[in-house]
Amino acid sequence: MQDASEHLTTNDRRDFLRRGVSYVAGAAAVGGASIATASGLSANLPPNEPQWGRQLGTGVVENPYGLPSRHESQVVRRTVPWLTAESISSISMSPIQDLKGIITPNGLVFERYHAGVPDINPDEHRLMIHGLVDNPLIFTMEDLMRFPSVSEIKFIECPANGGMEWRGPQMEALQFTHGMLSCCEWTGVPLKVLLDAAGIQTEGKWILAEGADGAHMSRSIPIEKILDDTLVVYAQNGEMLRPEQGYPLRLLNPGWEGNTSIKWLRRIEVGDKPWHHREETSKYTDLMEDGRARRFTYVQECNSVITSPCPENPIRRKGFLEIEGLAWTGRGKIKGVDISFDGGVSWQPAQLKGLVLDKALTRFSLMTQWQGEPWLIQSRAYDDSGYVQPTLAQLREQRGVNSIYHKNSIHTWQVAPTGEVKNVQIT
């Protein structure tokens, strides 16, 4: 290990830099008193009794709604400003490089707004169901919460996740290559139950879902999806929806592109044909190489990415290493994930760990050793429909490079002998 650390000076320095921020902040908190020993090591380390063991901490309800440790302040949503004209109709990414397990904390769920976050008074929010139904209905939030509730863990992903890299790699961090992705436990009512209450007519084949925000975001959804698993949800991870996620009410189409899960949901109209609105014609259609475009590309196909190591999580020590990552599919459950260290020439199976749920993030893991060898490391997921995550070359051959959406190809990280990790593409 002594030999290894000599080779890792760059990383050690970065590691120290990161920790150093905590030490400085810690020192400031106790009135600037110097607690460093002559050797330069913290007086909070053994054999010394640390500062926090020699004083009292804060009391109850100091933060009535708790906050993360201030030493975790780097775990935040981030945006790439040049992607959009301004921040009101824009997107931010979840810090998936820092998250554990499969649940995204509510404050870190990625954001996508078309007209900003409305401030909705739940007492004045209504869901209207009308169109080809026998009994057009209006529900208050209180009404909706009287229905028997269901809670399900499902991912939501923007179909543009990874879409900046059809022509080549340009995002220098996992948060930007794959962070338009989150997974929560959602609580609400199956939309089918509400449509049953309204009495859907036999000609009713599509619904239009519409938001109450300034964009009045709207999407057409075929009735088959509603009968399958569409939910109207009012809670996420045990609390009411965050404003960013549609408070007080949103649609959830599990496994489908995120924009179909209309936020701030106020209206469901049943019709016999799709509406072909702006967000399903001008946007969220996939332009092919021949100039024609796919529409109603709802499903988020099987995808995966290694979250450690990644650019934000370089390898800091030689020796034992757990490769970890996330896999997901809009078609069902993840069946397995393979790992390649040589750019896709050879593969070995990883383990799925923890919960393996339908249309939820699934965590995979592979224990290995690293002795400073350069890697081109990849993950390749496959799902229970038999679909295997494709290569970028295969997607480009079918679609060209202008489709923006639904780039679910195998992703490559280049691990340097220093342990640093870069985003690259292999062809």
Partner: protein, 340 residues
């Protein structure tokens, strides 16, 4: 805790299946929606014209409305300002290396244009246009794309008959379109692998790379960055030193102005930070000289009641009817006093 959701789902499924076969479970929850309530919210338009309101409009009348409420973002000729969407042109480019997707080159139905303008435009004041204005502006955008004549009277009766150039350019999702076999060894020739690295310095990575020369991590930072690049570009042409803002001591602000800052950030900044919709940018002295001479009372009155000038358009309270008069007044004072 992870067992129970499954069993709840199973139970609900059993209940709803059984109910579906016999009769829907009647929870007696909800209130009948009246025709009046539905009419107020039922704003959607379909390609067959279903949902279009009574009325008509044309490009001649649409030009004025377009220039007042649309051109500041979409450009006088629909060419798009900055990163805002281009509305016109691009025909025949969809198979090009850099396709230009516009209303004329890409959108399959004219109904979508009417629907979208009505539900979401103008960006800063959605649902503020009359049906007449929506017909006029829709006609003008179609006219700019050479889809209708200037004097064509676009109406509830004929909008669905407009044929858009790219109507047949779409097909329904046919994925999965690739089949990758789950190969485990000798899957590629290692000698033929080509590796392409990331462009360096295009994403904000200062949070994990020591000393990274990171670009802006926020939209306001991005605007500053672009402004300074533009100044450098101009300086390179003129040979003059880029103008550096004088670092003068900021003048003390009134209590009202200080109180107005939060309203400015939450509401006004959308336009007044970036000059959207012709709004005078805070800190842009040339845009404020004449306005300041008019006096605060007039500026406040314009902000409260709305204003249509030669360069821009501001709805009453910037479209934020929820703001109190006092909050808007304070925000105006904040903007005015920020010029000093």
């Amino acid at each position: 805790m992870f067992k129970s959701p499954k069993s709840i789902v199973a139970l609900t499924f059993a209940v709803s299946c059984a109910a579906g076969l016999v009769h829907a479970q009647d929870y007696q929850i909800g209130t009948p929606a009246t025709a009046l309530e539905i009419a107020g919210w039922d704003i959607d338009i379909r390609p067959d014209g279903k949902g279009l309101p009574v009325g008509s409009g044309n490009a001649i009348d649409g030009e004025e409305a377009y220039e007042m409420v649309c051109a500041s973002c979409h450009g006088v000729f629909g060419e798009g300002e900055g990163r805002w969407p281009v509305l016109v042109g691009g025909e025949g480019t969809l198979a090009d290396e850099r396709p230009v997707k516009t209303v004329g080159s890409y959108w399959p139905y004219a109904s979508t244009l009417f629907d979208y303008i009505r539900r979401a435009m103008p960006f800063t004041a959605p649902m503020s246009l009359s049906d007449q204005q929506v017909y006029d502006i829709t006609a003008y955008v179609l006219y700019m794309n050479d889809i209708i004549e200037e004097d064509f009277e676009l109406s509830q009766q004929n909008l669905a008959q407009i044929v858009m150039p790219n109507e047949d350019g779409f097909f329904v999702d046919d994925r999965p379109d690739v089949q990758n076999p789950r190969c485990m060894s000798d899957c590629a020739d290692p000698d033929k692998l080509m590796m392409k690295g990331s462009l360096a310095g295009v994403t904000p990575i200062g949070h994990f790379v020591e000393g990274a020369d990171a670009p802006a991590a926020s939209h306001s930072g991005q605007h500053d960055l672009e402004a300074s690049k533009e100044a450098e570009r101009k300086a390179a042409i003129t040979g003059e030193e880029p103008a550096v803002a004088e670092a003068s001591e900021p003048a003390a602000m009134s209590a009202a102005a200080i109180a107005g800052e939060s309203t400015y950030k939450a509401a006004c900044g959308v336009c007044h930070t970036n000059g959207l919709a012709g709004a005078p940018k805070v800190g842009d002295a040339s845009a404020w000289v004449e306005r300041l001479q008019q006096g605060n009372d007039l500026l406040i009155s314009h902000a409260l009641q709305g204003f249509a000038g030669s360069t821009g358009y501001m709805p009453a309270k910037g479209g934020r009817a929820d703001l109190s008069d006092e909050a808007v007044t304070n925000a105006v004072l904040f903007m005015v006093e920020s010029q000093h």
